[in-house]
Amino acid sequence: MKRHKSLQLAIAAGFVFAFLYIPIIVLVIFSFNRSAVMGKWEGFSFKWYTALFENKLLLDAAFTSIQIAAMTATLAVILGLCSALVLVRYPKIKGAMLFKGLLATPLVLPDMITGLALLLFFVGTEQLLGWPQGRGVFTIIIAHTTLAMAYVVIIIKSRLEELDPLLEEAALDLGAKPITVFLKITLPIIMPSLLAAWLLAFTLSLDDVVLASFLAGPNSTTLPMYIFSKIRLGLTPEINALATIVILFVSVCIAIMGVSLYTSGRNAPKPR
């Protein structure tokens, strides 16, 4: 694109950047505000952060969320890897069209619909088969995995498509069994993408309110559910501190993910 240096353009872009960053910066700054009143700055303090660690409900919800997110991410990567392998190596398999369509559905449908549909499904199976007994961590994991798979498959599939087939062929020609080829050649090469996909699924699960609310049980309040209900009740400074921690945590995860994807792309042997 021709480099047309225009001051107005730079100012407009600058405004948008400011629009994107100012609310978060304000949030982070006020999390250190000693005063409980949002508008007055009364000095720098960590007290809201220490208050967080004394809040048992909060800590339970955070722990539940992390558990759910870790399981979701692992399950989503395993299933997503299998799906991606099938879609890349056997694109003409029977039912590929339906499979691809279903995988992509959570990307397109509002999550309310996915949540409601899954809840109705579980209520139905509970009636028919006696499982699952009420909703809880298990059903949330299933919902999150279904959502995360859609994203994971995209990441892994595009990495697999860039993979030089000659590498695997060379190994096969040298007599390696397909499983060995997978473990010793394919897996190490796509590992950064798997890590990136895992982190993405992890943060997706950690951030979800709607699916969790539909599929949670009496003892399985997740962190986003807790935050959501607290915000509805009213503003407290602890939420600011909590929000800042979440921002930091999620940003670090995504930063790691971005770096792995970037370096895996750079180090990938280019197909000849």
Partner: protein, 298 residues
């Protein structure tokens, strides 16, 4: 050339994901459809059965259409759908207005800065959806930063209702979904051949006119993808209208939630969901058809 051809491998890889999406996506969606055709009853589960075996080997199939009739005839639902579409449309337009200059700026700036600028755009986006909405609640709420600050300065007597109306919802949606507009726009803008613009300038075309007649039409694919990526999720949004909207900001997401969790009316929630699905799938299919037509033409 050795190709992958092991049936065992193919089946063993495909079976689990395939069963997963069938059981946890396809079947639930079918069940959703089925329940939208039933009646709410007091009981567990709170909907009537569609199929009932009567005494002398008769299968009674009851398809209740009342939910859909309610949706289409009740003014409240019609208004809500229209309102949701309106909010989503306005949000999309504002995202376009705000996002285009940024995408254009990044696409035309020094290549060595582009990656960094794109990362800067994405960074706020990566810090949790819920928290970013909360940032605006914090700013706009009656006890939030703007109001407290103004009251502290004595400029206003009581809090301004900044954070509970449709405008706040639109701000929230634009704030959360803006990167979805900037990225596709950037992708299609940076593909435009600079020679085309140069040719226009050489022929004496004013830069702004050149933009309208050359750049804008050539970037329509980015405009379309970006708009779809914002409009479709925005119609079904719940969290943003719930936290930033007022009692009169009715959107489908909130109505669905209310019907399900507060009224315990599962069949109508299902019907609302089915109608929402149709509302979101139809524009998507139109776009797909247009895009496929493009590929065939080129």
């Amino acid at each position: 050339m050795k190709t992958y051809n092991s049936r065992l491998e193919k089946i063993s890889l495909a079976v689990f994901p395939y069963l997963w999406v069938i059981f946890f996506l396809a079947i639930p969606l079918v069940i959703l459809l089925k329940i939208s055709f039933s009646e709410p009853i007091i009981g567990k589960p709170p909907y009537s059965d569609m199929l009932t075996w009567m005494d002398d080997h008769v299968l009674l199939i009851k398809v209740t259409l009342i939910n859909f009739f309610s949706i289409f005839q009740d003014d409240l639902y019609v208004f809500t759908y229209m309102n949701s579409i309106q909010i989503a449309l306005i949000s999309t337009i504002f995202s376009l207005i705000l996002g285009y200059p940024v995408a254009y700026f990044i696409a035309t700036c020094d290549p060595k800065w582009r990656m960094t600028l794109l990362m800067l755009i994405m960074l706020p986006f990566w810090s949790s959806f819920l928290i970013r909405i909360y940032a605006w609640v914090l700013l706009l709420s009656p006890t939030g930063i703007i109001n407290s600050f103004l009251m502290h300065l004595g400029l206003i007597g009581s809090a301004l209702p900044l954070g509970s109306n449709s405008v706040a919802v639109i701000i929230g949606i634009v704030y959360c979904y803006l990167p979805f507009m900037i990225l596709p726009l950037y992708a299609s803008l940076q593909k435009i051949d600079p020679l085309l613009l140069e040719a226009a300038y050489d022929l004496g075309c004013h830069p702004f006119k050149a933009f309208c007649k050359v750049t804008l039409p050539l970037s329509y694919k980015g405009i379309l993808s970006g708009s779809m990526l914002i409009f479709i999720p925005a119609v079904g949004e719940f969290v943003i209208p719930e936290l930033l909207g007022g009692p009169e900001t009715l959107t489908i997401g909130r109505i669905l939630w209310g019907e399900f969790f507060h009224n315990r009316d599962w069949p109508i929630s299902a019907a609302i969901a089915v109608a929402l699905m149709i509302l979101t799938i139809v524009p998507l299919m139109i776009i797909q058809r247009l895009q496929r037509g493009d590929h065939e033409a080129s």
